[in-house]
Symmetry: none
Subunit: 206 residues, 4 copies
DNA sequence: TATGAATGAGGATTCATTCAT
DNA sequence: GATGAATGAATCCTCATTCAT
């Protein structure tokens, strides 16, 4: 009757180890940066031997790529669900910001690594991750598009949508630089302040 | 009668060499990151020998610190002048954003290195740079404060000022991630879209 | 009642698998060298798991030793039969060269590994292989001895026999370095040119 | 009155160090093979620190390439001089073999590394070395051509020249495998036996 | 001022091998 | 017979830094 079967422990154990590896690596990379994080650090923190970890990833870069792919895919998936929930443009936008920040608090390290270590992954894995990232940008830009009125020239409107979307990402991604668990949790105020700023500006109701 | 003496240029030459060193280093670090940039890279790009450069800086970290200190101090200085020029709160804010973006285009590499390699400098040099940074934050926060109405509780207001200031920095600093010389120059539109968003939100006059 | 049972193939299967392992390993080692060939390579090429192969050999060195022992023993055995077939000294020599080259084309990889990776096997297995090798040398030296006239001092004659035998091995073993299946097959011309050179020198009948 | 000036010691010292590095490396690689020779071995044997050696070569492969290039070039140069000295075809051939074996005794380690570690160098350096090698082959083949009579079809003659040249290289290169300083020095007998075999075959005058 | 030469410390990665299952 | 998971040891190489000149 349990949700998870009680038989297939072996495979689960292996999965769990990979999980732990990725989590610990993300934490270290978030704190010290990708370059400053050594594979040995990850081993020390997880209890793995240096060579033992290479069973789970092909190399340091692959380790980072695995983190990024998982995290971005998961975030994109959540946000697509948010969009599918419908609502007025304003409501949708608010939900997106709220959930992004909620995801942020749930996976701070992983998301930080996704945001600031993008250029450390190259080649095909990069392309794959880049594709997900673009999808997320598109999704957000569409939400912003819903907020921007039809006035003025079409190219002006498109430029503004692009700019405002980039501003929103700027605000969201910069949170990593100043967020402190004690002071800034829960993120509701933060989310509302951000949404209000976008919807009505400083002088807004609030 | 020239501005710069035409006689004993030696000291000037030395200054020029340091200048070149810092410029090249900033360019490399902006493109590849601090960790990925080797002192040898800087030597290759400047024509200096590896050992020769150590006359100009104490070590790799000092090289970065020199760039950061100069650049931040220069930016802060400019912005203080902007504030001293006076004007309505809205005008002041607009001037600050515009000049920040202007400075950005004039010193992109240096400013990027200031923004994203802060944690690579430690100890006393870090503290010194941190102090300048804080002054800049304070200056900007005050400008934002001028925009935020007096309504509501005092702590709410202060929280909002802080948040909005951080949002503004987020928007500004994130520009590094997407700015393209060909497409996004000149930065007037960009500055105006940003200011308008802050002042009136999406639906704003614009 | 046949020599090999047609029922319990298991043992046969095991033999076959060892066979495949040795063949593939020989091919890899012939192409890349012993050091550059990893046990993993062999696994990948045979479909075996890394650990699974250790049922068939004690270690990498043993794998090589098995190949060498089998191959050398087989070659020696064939050549002893050739010698036992009798004939004039010239005929015997010609047959030996021909059959060596025939063996070469039938087991190129294995023989190459025998010829160029001798020093990679150590200890007792080495001694065993070395013994076979010496027998082969003796057998060939005797055939050469049949060609060398009795003139002159005995020590001179022995020296010449030794040298010429070594020259013959040099010619034969060096074939690995330049032989190309398309161009140099069949090996009859090659064998004849070699025998003729030894028997009569450049200016020979041919 | 000294041949070499007494002033330029500095540059000479550096040259000497590279010289020593190459010599020691060649000795180690000749004994243990390229793969089995570690850069650390070279350091230990020369007194250099591990990193210090990288001032003289770009990497392990480059170290090998430097040895091969120098040695092959030097050998080719010597043999070209031999050819230019003229003489009958037989005399030329004898001189070539003698000088090759003389070079062999003077640079045994280097030449061994040239002969048996060719495939360890790749890319452009390989091509360069390959070019020299081909020149040496051509030079030898021409000398052999002088010995082979005009009888028979042209293609047959060319085939024989090619084969005999390859046989000669086989004999010469295989010497590495059995040569022992005490027993086989001086190499005059060896050279004469080889030349006689080629010129007149086993039954030759000698 | 400037550099050639050198080094210590450290980092990613590979590989043969093992062992519980 | 076979394998998934793990490891110790070793290897190549890079880099910031120094010092005699």
């Amino acid at each position: 009757m349990g949700k998870s079967g009680d038989d297939t422990t072996p495979r689960t154990r292996t999965e769990d180890k990979l999980e732990k590896l990725l989590t610990v690596a993300a934490a270290l990379m978030a704190k010290q940066g990708y370059d400053q994080t050594t594979i040995r650090d990850v081993g020390r923190e997880t209890g793995f031997s240096l060579a033992g970890m290479y069973y789970y990833f092909k190399g340091k870069e692959d380790l980072l790529a695995q983190i990024q792919k998982r995290t971005f895919a998961s975030l994109l998936c959540e946000q697509e669900r948010v969009v599918n929930d419908g609502g007025s443009p304003e409501e949708q936008f608010r939900h997106l910001v709220r959930n992004h920040l909620s995801f942020f608090t749930r996976h701070m390290n992983e998301l930080k690594v996704c945001t600031f270590e993008l250029e450390s992954v190259k080649g095909e894995p990069y392309d794959e991750i880049e594709r997900i990232r673009r999808s997320y940008f598109k999704l957000t830009a569409d939400a912003v598009g819903g907020l921007v009125g039809q006035t003025g020239k079409k190219t002006d409107r498109e430029r503004r949508i692009r700019h405002i979307t980039l501003f929103v990402f700027g605000m969201l991604n910069w949170v990593f630089m100043w967020f402190e668990d004690d002071r800034d949790n829960p993120v509701d105020h933060l989310a509302d302040d951000m949404v209000d700023l976008v919807l009505t500006g400083v002088s807004g109701a609030s």
